[in-house]
Amino acid sequence: MPELIKKERPNIKLEFVSSDQLIKELSELLKDFGADPSQADLKKTRQILSRVSSLNEELMSLRDEDE
């Protein structure tokens, strides 16, 4: 395993997903789930997710399957 990983410029222009594109994708996401922006509630979301089993463990399990 290498000790130092040095920077090398990739041969591509580094860009970000545009706000317009992201908003479009997130709108589609809401539509797919039949959700509405008015349902957004961070406090409620945290309450809901505090009673389910760990999301991080679920993610690790998902990645193990992909591996």
Partner: protein, 167 residues
């Protein structure tokens, strides 16, 4: 130049689910919304986060309405943060995918982790935030030029980041 932090999916979900390190993620995302830092992630992070929620639904841990609340919150938070230029998403460019393959072999990590790590590195992130013991174990012994790995499961790493960012 603002400090730039990369959120692996394991870091991103801590904003929505109370877990180890959620307090720190809150401080970082608040700082980003205030224009103090920039958060970068791959667009793939959104897919992984949705998949995690869907799995909870499939196991009947969440109802349809709860999933809608989570997705709406997730979507609105990301939209708001992106609009304030505090949270930016890198596309999954074919060359990023191709170039990250070298890191699969180099670190013996799964392709998705190699993609996240490589994206963070080439997008000049100062910190790579992750909560994944297996990956951390494989990459922590290496030093990345101008990028520090922050193990969100490790208290010392979290304290060190808090101190560096002064949050």
């Amino acid at each position: 130049m603002k400090k730039r932090l990369y959120f692996d999916t394991s870091a991103l979900i801590k904003e929505f689910a109370p877990e180890v390190g959620s307090d720190l993620i809150d401080k970082v995302t608040t700082g980003a919304r205030e224009g103090k830092f920039q958060i970068v992630s791959s667009i793939w992070t959104i897919n992984e986060a949705i998949s995690v929620i869907d799995r909870k639904f499939q196991r009947k841990e969440l109802t349809v309405v709860e999933v809608q609340t989570i997705i709406a919150t997730f979507s609105e938070r990301i939209k708001d943060s992106n609009e304030s230029a505090g949270f930016l998403f890198a596309p999954m460019h074919p060359l990023i995918i191709a170039d990250s393959r070298v890191w699969i072999r180099l670190f013996h990590i799964p392709p998705i982790d190699a993609m996240h790590l490589y994206t963070s590195f080439i997008y000049d992130c100062d910190y790579f935030l992750i909560h994944d013991d297996k990956v951390v174990k494989r990459v922590k012994s290496s030093t990345f030029e101008n990028m520090e790995i922050i193990d969100m499961g490790n208290e010392n790493d979290r304290e060190s980041l808090e101190s560096h960012l002064q949050v």
